[in-house]
Amino acid sequence: MSRASERRVLDEAGGVRAMTWVMAIMLFLTMLAAALGLGTAGAARALDRQLAGRLTVQIIDGDPVRRDASAARVLATLRTLPEVTRVAAVDRAELTRLLRPWLGSDGADPGLPVPAMIDVDLGGQDDAAVAAVARAVRGVAPTARVDRHETWMSPVSGVMRSLTLLALGIVLLMAGATAAVVVLAARAGLETHRATIEVMHMLGSTDLQVARLFQRRVAIDAAIGGVAGAGVAIAVILLIMTRLQGLGSELLDGGRLSSTDWATLGAMPIGFIVLAMVAARATIVRAMRTTL
């Protein structure tokens, strides 16, 4: 049957059906969950990129002269290592700035025994490179500490990965709930139109012909609801992103959605429509198989 005639066979009175609202709400919530997941995954990746292969060498010595001499030796040694791509001593002004939240202006006191700190970037991220650097540093400054940034931030990274998995779980649950709603709606529709379907059956309609009628109807409801839900969700996501960017946090800025993430979000309404159509078709075909 043509689409125009399919539209006429089931009584499709105008107006928005409950199914449309359900699809709009489902898709709205799913897209928010997906955006959260994609954002946290992006932030976790950005964090990994920032921290991977970065070290800080601390030289702790109460005597400022010995400390500065050790720092100079460590700097010179690090510059000779092939694993090291960048090395820079953290200057006194920067250390004072970092200490200000805890010590206030006292942090600027030249008599304060502040450790010398050296930032190191490695070409690789493997443990062997870190171990080689640590050996070389301790060779010239036995009391120096070598800290991997990755070690400090791994709990944060872990939380972000958990959030990503949680968001994925929510997306899958919402998809399942949507399919369940479609199944219920299709069964209700089958009951409502039972008389018409029986007539069509006796006229020689196949199960797929009958299923197509419902599939088409569900697709229209899902499309209208999907566009509405997706539109509102995108507006909310943009608003949240704008506010997060205003915070100036490097970590949160890493959670900005990429073009791939937007494409994924954009594909979700289409995915939902397809899911709804498949669920409707499967329900109707299964129900029809119980008849002769």
Partner: protein, 236 residues
């Protein structure tokens, strides 16, 4: 003429009740006209339901268009049903479709392109005298008009067999005669016609018709050789 339908010792039981039809055996020849008579509750509608594949028998063999209809797989049923036109006792028109669309439904189900529907549907509307009522919904049609729409819908796809359940039950005698003429015209075009009725006056209208009589779920002449007019001993 070849046999289009063959029943052999067919029985039908709904759930666990007594048999509604018992030991039904008969043969319908292609292109013939049959009346199925019997009192209310004799099993006419059940027998017709077996004929138009709305029901499988509890036992026995049914051969339809040369194939075993009892063992017919579900996916082949639609193809068989398209070869049978059915006029239901309660018409079963689709209430939100116009007369035009109700009549066009079998052609659409069969996959005919929309552009090709116009001619056969309008021919059929003219044949049943409903051209002026093409856009009317069933609820606005009289009983006789609805009956004619149901008949037009049953025959538009030129079925090999037409099955009609009490097609004149809801119309006045004049309309009943007109409808019977429609069936007769169709029969002359080669369609096998089976009309279930308890109106014995109708039987006189088609002299060439054969008659099958049901009584309490049994065919009165199990040989299937009853000819019109019925023998006096078998007259209900």
């Amino acid at each position: 003429m070849a046999n289009i339908v063959q029943f052999e010792n067919v029985g039908l039981r709904y759930d666990t009740g007594a048999e509604t039809l018992s030991d039904i055996s008969f043969t319908l020849r292609s292109g013939a006209f049959y009346f199925l008579t019997g009192a209310s509750g004799a099993g006419k509608t059940s027998l017709l339901r077996l004929l138009y594949l709305a029901q499988r028998p509890s036992r026995g063999v049914i051969r339809l268009f040369g194939e075993d209809a009892v063992l017919l797989p579900r996916d082949r049923m639609p193809g068989f049903r398209r070869r049978i036109g059915v006029v239901f006792q309660d018409f079963r028109l689709v209430p939100h479709l116009s007369t035009w669309d109700n009549i066009a439904l079998p052609l659409r189900v069969a996959g005919m392109p929309e552009a090709d529907l116009r001619q056969p549907v309008e021919e059929m509307l003219a044949w049943v005298g409903l051209t002026e009522r093409a856009e009317a919904r069933p609820a606005t049609l009289s009983g006789g008009e609805q009956q004619r729409v149901a008949i037009a819908r049953a025959v538009i796809a030129r079925p090999e067999m037409l099955v009609a359940d009490e097609p004149t039950g809801n119309v006045d005698p004049d309309m009943a005669e007109r409808l019977l003429h429609l069936f007769e015209s169709l029969n002359k075009l080669g369609t096998t016609v089976v009309v279930a009725t308890h109106d014995l006056h109708l039987l006189n209208r088609i002299p060439t018709a054969q008659m099958m009589r049901l009584d309490h779920g049994r065919l009165l002449d199990p040989t299937g050789s009853l000819q019109y007019p019925p023998s006096p001993r078998a007259e209900p």
